[in-house]
């Protein structure tokens, strides 16, 4: 007789693809909220993005509140 049973694998590891995805999300999110000074939008808008600072202004209040140096 056979049956299917659920067991818990208590292996301490993270799949490599998951690690890559999560590490990328971590780096991108921290940079955007904590440090972006026009870099992301400069890919599309060029030098003007450094003057507009859309991401900086959008994240401004959280940047201060979370403890990042802002300006």
């Amino acid at each position: 007789m056979s049956f299917s049973k659920e067991i818990t694998i208590a292996k301490s590891s993270v799949p490599k693809v998951a690690l890559l995805v999560l590490a990328t999300i971590f780096a991108f999110g921290i940079f955007e909220v904590g440090f972006d000074q026009g870099q992301l939008f400069s890919i599309v808008f060029g030098e003007q993005a450094y003057a507009d600072l859309y991401i900086h202004e959008l994240t401004h209040d959280m940047r201060h509140a979370a403890g990042f140096p802002c300006h």
């Binding site: 049956f3 959008l58 509140a65 403890g67």
Partner: protein, 240 residues
């Protein structure tokens, strides 16, 4: 694996939105007050004029910034949640607690202390009006370096902790000695604080409450989801 990633991102994002909501309620009044002082400086120096057009632009600009609290909270929360998930994935077997929910809370407490509380004690948050734009790169470098040193230091002493069969508290004391030395050696924030002390201290207190609410939320939400869904549980065929 997708469930693993979903739990991590969902808990981080939710905790980030909670962080944003706490900030909207507690931190915004201090930000408004600090930006009000900046405005007075601009009027006094002639950089801006106290006109109805100025205030119309100001309120629209502040609405954009305040709305950003929630979006930035979601992005920051998802990012920190991703780091939290990675560390939990590797450390879950050694974390204290007899359930994943308790283990997640224990990890949140450890990360809150090493990645936030100790760096905050050295380089506390500041409201607008505090901070010389000329020193921004130096301040960012100091802040990030301190967090990285504290985080990697904790990781290093965790390896010591894991290898010790007894007297594991030695690893905790080792980290404490290490970070105390770094705390003393690292340079101070170079900017003088000219804003009123009650504004700066009040801002720092509510900022601490907001970030602490994030870490508590991410530990709770992640722990409950992990406990309930256990993404590392797999089906195995057994023959008897």
């Amino acid at each position: 694996m997708s469930l693993f990633i979903t739990i991590i991102l969902l808990s981080g994002c939710s905790a980030g939105v909670i962080h944003g909501l706490v900030n909207l309620a507690l931190v915004e009044p201090y930000l408004d007050k600090a930006i009000g002082i900046e405005n007075q400086h601009m009027f006094a120096s002639g950089e801006a004029k106290d006109t109805s057009q100025f205030w119309a632009e100001y309120y629209s600009y502040r609405a954009w910034q305040k709305g950003g609290q929630l979006l930035a909270g979601a992005i920051l929360g998802t990012a920190i949640g991703a780091l939290f998930g990675i560390v939990f994935g590797y450390a879950k077997n050694i974390l204290p607690g007899n359930s994943f929910a308790k283990k997640a809370l224990a990890l949140a407490a450890i990360m809150w202390i090493t990645l936030y509380l100790i760096p905050f004690a050295k380089y506390p948050a500041n409201p607008p009006t505090v901070g010389d734009p000329e020193t921004i790169l130096l301040r960012q470098m100091l802040y990030v370096s301190f967090i990285a040193i504290s985080g990697f230091g904790a990781l290093g002493f965790y390896q010591v902790f894991r290898r010790l069969k007894s007297k594991r508290f030695v690893a905790v004391l080792g980290y404490a000695g290490f970070i105390a030395t770094v705390f003393v050696v690292m340079p101070q924030n170079p900017d003088a604080i000219t804003a009123p002390a009650d504004l700066v201290n009040g801002f720092r207190a509510v900022s601490l409450v907001g970030v602490s609410a994030f870490w508590l939320s991410v530990g709770l939400i992640f722990g409950v989801l992990w406990q309930k869904l256990q993404p590392d549980r797999v089906k195995q065929a057994r023959f008897q």
